[in-house]
Symmetry: C2
Subunit: 300 residues, 2 copies
């Protein structure tokens, strides 16, 4: 009677400053830089910090180049920027960015509503982004990988086929996103059976399954996760969609399970508290609210 | 690459009408009976329905005998009532109750704050309750089984020793409760290693780990869970404590994993909606908010 072994090390990419804050009221660049500094100080060394999108369409992401010029730099800290198209990639490449992320959907219906393009048009865009990126790695995030609110379940073989196409177009990495919280351990097992475990997972708490899905995926060998400090984020195009898996909820779990992340939970909670101040409302993250399990009564 | 097998069948005891509503503003007996009817109609056949406690101390639980006289009866539906002491057990035994639950803590500090008794005094009470109960089974719920906000971690051997003492006193079943959300898959594995898997688990979402803990426990062979419709409940003596694991979040997971519970998720969500009306605020349950994963956009 024993649980399966987990990976010894898990790499966490915090998407809070970008994916997390994107649906929120705009936060000034300096405040976002402060948040990124807090994350780096906590040992979060992969962060999606900005999106090179139209500031008219997404005011919360304005100032991407300015932000990338101000974030703290060190050899082991990698900053990703989301780019929706070739133009965004060109703008991003004028900055010191370490990685580009691009999102496209496995759901034709979701892709149309999200970016007003067909999947094939999105793939053509990905190809151009990879060409512009040159030696900077591109991570393609496949949304609705575990189900779509428009078409229902997506065939695991279709997920794997799309992964192959994206790698053929030049993507260095592929991430499966559970955009609308439809993943379950069984769906994850079925998809990973086709894609293999060399994928990142981007999980949502829409139905409260983010952590259990991460746990199951780690049991199967996945060791890369996108999470969001404070649990912010969520798709505006999905009914009832809640936030991303909170970085501190995953780190608290991994700490207790003896899986190395390099992240200091107490300092991470300071960054989460900062997020709470930035958005000025209670965060979805329960660990941010309750504190770590080591925090005993009486302030001990 | 495969996840461990889970039990084929899991027994869920819904504690919503008792443990869930206890910290809330009082709900009239007739409304609680309506909720219990909705749960039974959804296929929830084990329900903690009432507590035989002082109505002065816990106004929300007033009318326990009256309630037990009105709940729908059928051969496969089992109603449990919480009893804090011999007097409560005597009152419960005057009704058609199928099971008594009694709570005592593995944490001396928590037990004192919760019931103003030492653990030994609580055990003496359990002995008397078992004597009064006769052939009606008593389930002893050990709170703080996976950690206490006062003493920190509780030694797994101490949990197993207490389980043995409770069975010796006449308890037919023992449940390990994660009263303040300190359980993790590793703590659960450590405790079950000592207690064996013939225990129920009563899990909380204080730190967002209820579902992942249930999943890990099932992988280890546990097949009995206390959950609360809508995710209500929580200890008033634990900082930042959130609700119980929501029945519908566990059922949604188990449905997808092919584990039989006998519960119809759609009808269960109707009961959860009723709970939301009774307490007149948004429920902690994300599945209650977002609906099942099968609920596609456009009402399909």
């Amino acid at each position: 009677m024993a649980l399966p072994a987990l990976p010894a090390v898990v790499v966490i990419r915090d998407v809070g400053p970008c994916d997390g804050l994107q649906p929120e009221a705009p936060v000034p660049v300096e405040e976002r830089v402060r948040l990124i500094e807090a994350l780096v100080a906590a040992g979060v060394h992969r962060i999606e910090v900005a999106a090179f999108v139209s500031p008219k369409a997404v005011p919360a992401m304005a100032g991407a180049a300015e932000l990338l010029a101000q974030v703290p730099r060190s050899a082991n800290v990698h900053y990703a920027a989301l780019v929706p198209n070739r133009r965004g990639a060109e703008l991003a490449m004028e900055t010191e960015v370490d990685e580009l992320t691009v999102t496209m959907s496995l759901s034709e219906g979701y892709n149309r509503r999200n970016v007003n393009r067909s999947i094939d048009e999105s793939l053509a865009e990905v190809e151009q982004i990879c060409a512009v990126a040159g030696s900077v790695p591109v991570d393609a995030v496949m949304s609705c990988a575990f189900g779509s609110p428009y078409e229902g379940d997506i065939a695991p073989k279709a997920v794997a086929a799309m992964e192959g196409r994206l790698r053929d177009l030049g993507c260095a990495a592929v991430t499966c996103a559970d955009t609308t919280g439809m993943a379950t351990p069984r769906r994850i097992e079925e998809v990973l059976h086709e894609t293999g475990t060399d994928v990142g997972l981007h999980l949502h708490e829409t139905r409260g399954t983010g952590l259990v899905n991460a746990f199951a995926a780690m049991q199967l060998g996945v060791d890369r996760f996108d999470t969001s400090v404070g649990g912010l984020g969520g798709s505006p195009f999905a009914t009832g969609a809640a936030g991303n898996l909170a970085t501190e909820e995953l780190v608290a779990l991994l700490d207790d399970l003896g899986v190395h992340t390099g992240i200091d939970l107490d300092r991470l909670l300071e960054a989460a508290a900062m997020v709470g101040e930035l958005v000025d409302r209670p965060l979805p993250s329960r660990v941010a609210a309750a504190g770590p399990r080591s925090r005993l009564a009486g302030g001990a």
